[in-house]
Amino acid sequence: MAINVSECQAVKVIAVDGSIDGKTAPEVQGEILPAVAGIDRVILDLSQVDYMSSAGLRMLLTLYRQFQARKGRIALVGVSEEIQDVMSHTGFIGFFALADTLEEAVALLEGTS
């Protein structure tokens, strides 16, 4: 599991590489939370995440609540079909902006698409 922080058109992008499970979710969360402190828009690039269990959903829930509290928004990029199925089954999917590309995610966050 690896985390890479970059920017796309002045929006912070956090890319996760690997599986998000009961072992790695707390590690991923521990790296993401400080990286998003105080910002109101973030793109989470999950295109290199091949697996996410309920531990990953709980991490998304924690992130969502932090952003919701400061009226911020989160966009997810490259979510695999299998992970989208799980997010849909658990009623998570409607609370996140989902995009195929970083540019599309930026547009969603800026409300221009």
Binding site: G22, Y51, L57, R58, L61, Q68, T90, F92, F95
Partner: protein, 141 residues
Amino acid sequence: MSATRFPADLAALAPLRDLVKQRADAAGLSTSRGYRLMLAVDEVATNIVLHGYQENGLEGHLDVSVEVTEDNELVVCLEDDAVAFDPRSLEGPDAEDLSIPLEERDEGGLGIMLAMDGVDRFDYERVGERNRNTFAVRLKE
């Protein structure tokens, strides 16, 4: 049926999933059904490690076997020596719970719900001092 033994540690989840995925692929299960089976086993194994072993100060193993039965089912059997626990006794969220906005949502029970919903049949038995969790998916005729 020979079992593969993993230490009861969260670090064992990835190799455990790899084993299930490999056997699901070999049995010809579709990608999406193989993923749901792998997720089901992973969720229950996570619960066993955290709540069965670690919370009780116990160490031990997860024994996993995978076979295709005469009834054309792919069956994963997950056994442990932790405290008795039947995942079916946990009440997962219902449709109403899942329609609650995320900011007000109770985050418990999602894993077990995904496990129960991810397979065609789930069974739990206490066999002597062991827990046996059985996950079965039908293969195409």
